[in-house]
């Protein structure tokens, strides 16, 4: 439903959309009716979405952009988005965050697929390797930088990533593709059909990914395979009412290496094993949209997932969610309000290895719920100035009531220039890991001591949520229909950040079995900080078959803790690359040939000694006929291998490198 809120948000800001005439491709008017009958529409979206009129930093990966992408991984698609750092850590893991604080379990962003939250309450983060779809069935990905707290709920602190699949009405007929390459191969099959009022699709996707490179050591043990299938039905109950029922299920096997600490040299040993992942979800959504702008939506979903066979921890997670929301347009005012309930049922199990060392969740099983309510008013002060006021109230069983207000304005200076600004508060609730986990950590050498330190880190169920106060200012301009750009500056103030301070009591020295230090520590809300940054995106289409897209982000982080921190502490200042740049071009050379290219740059990640890197990708596609197309894809073509991120803190694995890859992809559709 959060997607719907987003859609409505976009739709309502475009509400008085009857402004000036829009252009139409003159060629269309010259075409014969027979030709028109053969054309396919790019999108069946009912509302024209004017991104230029949203009072937030929004970036959309459009269907066109998806068609020209270099990858079939959803996380990899985010590399062109300003403000986002995507780092592939192993063949099957990504560290992705927005506006700072990146980690494998980056916890300050909310990720949704068709309104279903992909955020795991266990580790607060996203299991990116488990989020898949046939890329050709994606409608778009919307990325909102900055807090969306007032509409979207907790954990939408630094941003929201919204993955939206196409309606079954837009995926009719047969589709099959096969991709083979040195690093990955996949096969996908989909069929869509329809009756008078109902359309459906069913799909199956299989993927095999080769291992990445281990620094100094050849190939890593992280190759993986997965199989996913799903369906979606879209009913038109009446012209204004739609019902959707969809579901997906997947199973995965992945080579996993996790570290385990022993108090004798070499202190850290790595266990390799095969982990099995399983997941399934079902979603039901009823929505009504009236021409008057009135709309409501009721959505419920169930999502279950599990991990077994991992070296240290395994888990079961069940999520039950039901949400309702309504939009009521009045004269010069649009009200949006909603209610939601979510239940998490979790079970985190120790593996055999973990019995030798403190590595567990206590208690192992928990049930917790979240209740939320939100309201927002969008007020037209004048024809060109809009004010948006709203707040979300969220009650978590563990952390109590949180409120997340926002105030925004949007000023249309003229037809082509928009200025917007926002001040918002957002919260991140502690994850189960932070509340209940016991983790054993090894620190090779504590300052001022020749011995290694073993730290038994305990979660803390008295933790408060982390809070953010964000100030944002944005400017958008379209110089003409061919060139647009968008600039955003922000200043974020964080409070109560969760970190682990070094305990005041000195560590205890143990001479046996080998000299080492040992201590206990507890997670605390004892850090605060600021980040500021600047983001730019520009789009230039000199002629209709050619476009360029540029994005650049700059960010600086400052963190302050009164005590020395040993885990997720002040050193996180250096986890974010200061500069991220990407430039891509898409060129249709005639009706049959497409050439896409991209160069991108990520500056160094000092915390992990990861050097800066440039990467270049190319893709050449040839449309043999109406049904068949072939593409050749090269990724990192000028670079045999490079690392993108370090060993993260929790559940450490050895450092991996991303390798050069080439693919051939065949797509057939009818």
């Amino acid at each position: 439903m959060n997607i719907l809120i987003g859609l409505i948000l976009l739709a309502i800001v475009t509400f008085p959309a009857f402004a000036t005439g829009r252009e139409i491709n003159p060629e269309l008017l010259r075409m014969e009716l027979e030709e028109l009958l053969n054309l396919e529409v790019t999108s069946a979206a009912k509302h024209p979405q004017k991104l230029s009129e949203v009072a937030a930093a929004v970036f959309v990966i459009s269907e066109e952009s998806l068609r020209h992408s270099f990858t079939d991984f959803i996380p990899e698609l985010l590399r062109d988005v300003p403000g986002v750092h995507v780092a592939r850590t192993t063949a099957s893991d990504w560290a992705i965050s927005i506006r700072g604080f990146n980690d494998r379990f980056a916890n300050k962003l909310l990720v949704l697929m068709d309104g279903r939250s992909l955020y795991t309450p266990l580790f607060s983060g996203v299991h990116w390797e488990r989020q898949d779809a046939i890329i050709e069935d994606l409608d778009r990905i919307e990325v909102i930088r900055g807090p969306g707290g007032s509409l979207w709920g907790a954990n939408a602190v630094n941003g929201i990533i919204n993955i939206i699949t196409k309606s079954a009405w837009d995926t009719q007929g047969f589709f099959a593709n096969l991709k083979v390459g040195n690093e990955e191969s996949l096969a996908a099959l989909r069929y869509g059909g329809h009756g008078e009022n109902v359309a459906y699709r069913v799909y199956l996707k299989a993927r095999e990914v080769d291992s990445s490179a281990e620094i100094h050591n050849g190939q890593a043990h992280d190759d993986w395979r997965m199989l996913q299938g799903g369906f979606r039905f879209d009913w038109k109950l009446s012209p204004e009412r739609n019902l959707r029922f969809s579901g997906d299920a997947y199973t995965q096997t992945a080579g996993v290496v996790q570290s385990y600490y022993i108090p004798i040299p070499p202190y850290e040993i790595f266990f390799a094993d095969d982990g099995y992942g399983f997941g399934a979800n079902f979603l039901l959504k009823l929505e009504e949209k009236k021409a008057s702008g009135h709309s409501w939506c009721l959505q419920a979903y169930y999502d279950t997932s599990s991990a077994t066979g991992y070296p240290l921890l395994n888990w079961d997670l069940d999520v039950y969610d039901i949400e309702f929301q309504q939009v009521i347009p009045k004269k010069n005012l649009i009200w949006t309000w909603g209610l939601g309930y979510r239940l998490y049922d979790t079970y985190v199990k120790k593996s055999v290895y973990a019995n030798f060392s403190p590595y567990a969740f206590v208690p192992a099983k928990t049930k917790s719920y979240i209740l939320n309510a939100f309201g927002q008013a969008e007020i037209d002060l004048t024809s060109s100035l809009k004010l948006i006021l709203g707040s979300k109230f969220e009650y978590h069983e563990e952390t109590g009531l949180n409120f997340q207000p926002t105030g925004r304005f949007l000023w249309k200076v003229d037809e082509n220039k928009t200025i917007w600004g926002a001040i918002s508060r957002a919260v991140r609730t502690p994850s189960r890991g932070e509340l209940d986990a016991v983790i054993n950590i090894y620190i090779p050498r504590l300052e001022g001591s020749p011995y290694p330190l073993f730290l038994e880190l305990h979660g803390n169920d008295d933790l408060d949520p982390e809070t953010l106060l964000a100030l944002e200012l944005g400017y958008r301009q379209s110089l003409n229909a061919r060139f647009q750009y968008d600039v955003t500056v922000f200043f974020n103030v964080y409070d109560d950040l969760i970190t682990v301070p070094l305990p005041e009591k000195p560590p205890v020295f143990h001479p046996k079995p080998w000299p080492h230090l040992h201590t206990y520590a507890k997670a605390q809300n004892s850090m605060d900080g600021e980040t500021y940054g600047f983001e730019l995106s520009a789009f230039y289409r000199p002629t209709s078959p050619l476009f360029f897209q540029l994005s650049y982000s700059y960010l600086k982080m400052f963190l302050h803790a009164p005590q020395k921190t040993i885990w997720f502490g002040e050193d996180q200042e250096d986890v974010w690359p200061r500069h991220i740049f990407s430039l891509r071009s898409c060129y249709e050379i005639g009706k049959k040939l497409h050439l896409d290219a991209r160069v991108r740059y990520v500056s160094k990640v000092p915390l992990y000694d990861i050097p800066s890197y440039w990467a270049t990708d190319i893709k050449l596609s040839w449309k043999a006929n109406e049904n068949l197309s072939l593409s050749f894809i090269g990724q990192n073509i000028f670079d045999p291998r490079h690392p993108e991120f370090g060993q993260y803190y929790a559940l450490r694995t050895p450092l991996r490198e991303v390798e050069r890859s080439f693919f051939l992809k065949i797509t057939w559709q009818k």
């Binding site: 028109l36 790019t42 440039w614």
Partner: protein, 169 residues
């Protein structure tokens, strides 16, 4: 550095070269092109040099339909106006967007038997007495024609249009 230069060169190389146009319409654009074609295949009993094309009800097409203004079909210059459903007496063709059911019923009743071509993308439009209904089939646009209603209105619809219709009632 060499690879960066190569990469930049590659990107820039793409910027040059000749251009081809490719039609990749939005749903709105495509609907507008269909409507324009319909006007070509219908002949009105009345003579006259203008064709008054009215837009009634709420529709995103209103932004696009303006492109017809000033264009001519069968020696008639099209004039596009957005009108109130109660005020349609001068219209020769009407595109009907979203209207309250009662309003739509009333409008179709008023127009019954008059030489006015009614077009809409609303569901069951031809069943309710409208003449041409646009609808999506998968990603392609299709249309239905209510031939009985057209005859009653005294409009001549070319056989080519009828042949291309998905359904004629």
């Amino acid at each position: 550095m060499r690879s960066i230069l190569l990469a930049l060169f590659l990107v820039l190389a793409l910027a040059t070269g000749h251009t081809f146009s490719k039609v990749n319409p939005s749903l709105e654009e495509l609907k507008v092109a269909f409507v324009y074609n319909f006007l070509k295949f219908v002949s009105w009993p009345s003579q006259g040099t203008t064709l008054r094309f009215c837009i009634v009800g709420e529709t995103p097409l209103v932004d696009y339909l303006e492109v017809f203004s000033g264009k001519s079909v069968s020696n008639k210059v099209i004039m596009v106006t957005k009108t109130d459903p109660k005020d349609t007496k001068d219209c020769q063709a009407i595109f009907i967007g979203k209207l309250a059911p009662l309003q739509k019923e009333k409008l179709l009743k008023t127009l019954k038997g008059k030489a006015v071509l009614t077009i809409s993308d609303q569901k069951s439009f031809t069943k309710e007495g409208g003449i041409i209904e646009l609808f999506l089939e998968g990603k392609k646009l299709r249309f239905k024609v209510n031939y009985t209603a057209a005859k009653e209105a005294g409009l001549k619809i070319s056989s080519r249009l009828l042949r291309l219709a998905k359904e004629v009632i």
